[in-house]
């Protein structure tokens, strides 16, 4: 009996072991054939792309396609490592992935991970995009198109009317725009605001404002920020960087910042609790504000011109990873979502400003108003300047370098470093990061 039991056990162990090996071996083999039946396309995004209605429309006209969006509302910092892992592993990425312009540089350096959209008739679409937006999606040699542009980040300044009224400042958007033709004027308004002790700070975080000023001054001058167009790191020699840094230091010196680290829990809470009065506002930020401040703050926000002149921050692309098993269908969907029509739909839903000149001229955009922001004519505010936007060139390790410089700004903001120490840190750490 004992022998029988043991043999029995041995058999069980053998079966278990075999099963284990079997499972391990075919862990990746459970994919169904792609040829028949409805195709499910997965779209990976971060933040708010505003595609829900467009998906519905597309699925209605393509009954054999089902679309699933992942990552809606997630932070770019959470999304980008995941995307990188999927690409490195050759598995896991969606059929369409969104790529933010600052990260696109890294992905462009390894174009083998993506389908060349030029091989799939994308060349005909060139006229549908602002020229620089189209060029950003191309690899350095111009032979591969990684991504089709979605939006651009035309700049404005969003502000709280109720807090402005409390501080005795004008609340009408044209009058507010006239208050701050330059950033120094903006600081003066901030000082007036601060003197009235409304219980709120003038702005959310110095890093957001720094980034705005930098992209603006770089766009208006050389057209590059941390790297020059020859990919040399120029943090310490580019006057635009130092100028943006110094202006930001003035803002910090005047005590205008609420020091809410951007995108942190505190930052989100500060929106809800009305703890700051202004925030630098690229077009895509309007959706973020609405999400963070919630329906209770509807009508309290408004949008004015940004101090300084124009500028572009952010904007994204849609790409199709080579690992997608439904490349043809995915490319079709990406073309639809980035078409003028798709961009208008996204703008209406969540506010990202189109990168298509046709969309930017469309009455649906030009005449549009945003109810949440006191019916501000967002179409006029953002679209008017969008066609004259001056893009800023981004070098190979742009993201890592930007992180270091913004962190240095943050340490000064928090009183951990003096402005001089902060600048030294920014330059040194940027060099280190670029070398990694």
């Amino acid at each position: 009996m004992a022998t029988f039991t043991r043999r029995h056990l041995a058999a069980v162990a053998l079966v278990a072991t075999t099963a284990l090996l079997g499972t391990a071996a075919c862990g990746g083999g459970d994919d169904k054939s792609a040829d028949d039946g409805p195709v499910t396309l997965t779209v990976d995004v971060f933040g708010q792309f505003g595609y829900d209605e467009l998906y519905k429309e597309y699925m209605a006209s393509h009954p054999d396609v089902k679309i699933v969006e992942r990552g809606t509302g997630s932070n770019l910092d959470e999304y980008s490592p995941k995307l990188t892992q999927w690409l490195a592993a050759g598995k896991g990425a969606g059929d369409i992935v969104a790529i933010e312009e600052g990260l696109l540089v890294e992905y462009k350096a390894n174009p083998q991970n993506f389908v060349n959209l030029l091989d799939h008739g994308a060349a005909d679409l060139k006229g549908n995009f602002l020229e620089w937006k189209w060029n950003q999606g191309l690899t350095a040699d111009g032979k591969q198109l990684i991504g089709l542009g979605t939006d651009v980040g035309g700049m404005a300044m969003c502000y709280r009317k109720d807090l402005f009224a409390k501080a005795g400042l004008p609340t009408d958007r044209d009058a507010v725009s006239k208050l701050w033709p330059t950033w120094q004027d903006y600081i003066k308004v901030g000082e007036q605001f601060k003197a009235k002790n409304t219980g709120a700070a003038f702005l959310d975080a110095a890093t957001n404002t720094f980034n705005t000023i930098l992209l603006q001054s770089a766009g208006n001058a050389q057209g590059y920020s941390y790297y020059d167009t020859g990919n040399n790191l120029v943090v310490d020699s580019n006057p635009a960087v130092k100028q943006a840094y110094d202006t930001t230091m003035d803002i910090i010196d005047s005590g205008l910042s609420g020091k809410y680290g951007s995108w942190s829990e505190e930052w989100v809470s500060a929106f809800k609790q009305s703890k700051f009065a202004t925030i630098a506002c690229p077009a895509w930020m309007t959706g973020v504000i609405e999400g963070n401040a919630g329906p209770g703050a509807k009508g309290r926000w408004d949008i004015a011109q940004v101090p300084g002149n124009g500028g572009n921050w952010g904007g994204s692309f849609l790409a199709v990873p080579k690992q997608s098993r439904h490349q043809a269908e995915a490319i079709e969907l990406a073309k639809f979502l980035t078409s003028a029509k798709g961009q208008i739909g996204a703008f209406k839903a969540k506010g990202p400003l189109p990168s298509s000149p046709q969309a930017l001229e469309d009455p649906a955009i030009v005449d549009s108003e945003n109810a949440y922001f006191s019916d501000a004519p967002v179409g006029k505010i953002f679209a008017t300047g969008a066609k004259s936007l001056k893009p800023v060139y981004m070098g190979p390790k742009n993201q890592a370098v930007r992180t270091e410089v913004e962190n240095a700004v943050r340490t000064v903001e928090l009183g951990q470093r003096s402005p001089e120490q902060g600048w030294t840190d920014a330059v040194n750490n940027a060099e280190k990061a670029a070398a990694k």
Partner: protein, 328 residues
């Protein structure tokens, strides 16, 4: 249940037919090899999910491995040399050790005390014993998010309470020691109950007559605790310390979620609460995508854990050295 693995098979009858000979051979095979088969699943799993990744990580650490790149040239130890001179790495090591010490020491003492309480005659004993485990079954992410809010600078409850007693608000995320403390509180919240149960199990194995004779000799409760319970618990304490070392030095979720917003992986503007695993992640993934460097960090962390665990065991042996010779 004890399985007697060296048991002989039943003796075959003297007249051997081919059939019984075959049975005997099978039986011998069974005796000799099936034990290996029983333990094979563990080793297979360990090989696939333990050894293989470990070796692969080492292999990667010898290459210039851009996570997205197509080419991975061999560079020998060139990831390790700059790493050993990398101040940010050592900064992360100090953070990790700091958080480890201020979380583990009070945690184990508290667990010991809790276990001692639970070992007494209590009403609804099982309920209490189960209750201490509740923080451990809560998801780490949930705990970390709640604690991050509690320790918020502007809207956090802790700062509000401090304000009530007239203490200035603390920026928990931008002050190195404060950040360590907050993260340690999180770790202790989760793991104290777990360790208490492990200690409790060991305490119940201590013969009661030891305590009886001790109280006849006039030893009080605390004397009994320090002279009987703690020394007899030594192997369990060693176990708990090693497990806590491994867990503590690999701390990731708590500090990562404690820091929110842009670049949370840095653990604060001056890397106040960045642990080694976070530094590894920062290098291997966004924003550096340097998989080789990240792998080198993983291997140094492995070495660090081995050293610290060995150090802890030696220290504990030394401390309790005279008490239980037969254990050594």
């Amino acid at each position: 249940m004890a399985v007697q693995l060296d048991a002989r098979p039943p003796v075959a009858p003297a007249h051997r037919t081919p059939r019984t000979a075959r049975a005997a051979r099978l039986s011998r095979f069974d005796t000799r090899y099936s034990p290996y088969l029983y333990i094979a699943p563990f080793f297979l799993l360990f090989g696939v999910f333990g050894i293989y990744p470990l070796m692969y990580t080492f292999w990667v650490s010898l290459h210039d491995w851009d996570l997205l790149g197509a080419e991975h040239p061999f560079i020998g130890l060139d990831n390790y040399t700059p790493l050993l001179a990398d101040p940010d790495f050592w900064h992360a090591v100090v953070n990790t050790l700091g958080i480890f010490v201020i979380s583990t020491v009070p945690q184990l003492l508290l667990a010991l005390w809790l276990a001692n309480l639970l070992n007494r005659r209590l009403r609804a004993r099982t309920t209490w014993r189960m209750a201490v485990l509740i923080p451990n079954v809560t998801s780490t992410a949930a705990v970390a998010i709640v604690f991050a809010v509690l320790f918020g600078r502007d809207f956090g409850m802790i700062n509000w309470l401090l304000d009530l007693v007239g203490v200035d608000a603390i920026d928990w995320k931008a002050n190195r020691f404060a950040a360590w403390t907050a993260i340690s509180a999180m770790v202790d919240w989760r793991w104290t109950g777990y360790n208490a149960l492990i200690f409790l199990a060991a305490m119940q194995a201590i013969p009661r007559d030891l305590y009886e004779s001790a109280s006849i000799d006039g030893a009080g409760r605390s004397r009994q605790f320090w002279s009987i319970t703690v020394p007899l618990l030594k192997p369990t304490i060693v176990f708990a310390v090693i497990i806590s070392t491994i867990g503590g030095l690999q701390l990731f979720t708590e500090p990562r979620l404690f820091n929110s917003g842009t670049n949370a992986i840095r653990g604060g503007p001056l890397r106040e609460s960045q642990t080694v695993t976070m530094y590894m992640f920062e290098n291997a993934f966004a924003p550096h995508y340097n998989f080789g460097y990240g792998s080198a960090i993983a291997w140094l962390l492995f070495a660090l854990i081995a050293v610290v665990a060995a150090g802890n065991v030696l220290l504990l042996r030394r401390l309790g050295g005279g008490v239980r010779k037969e254990d050594d």
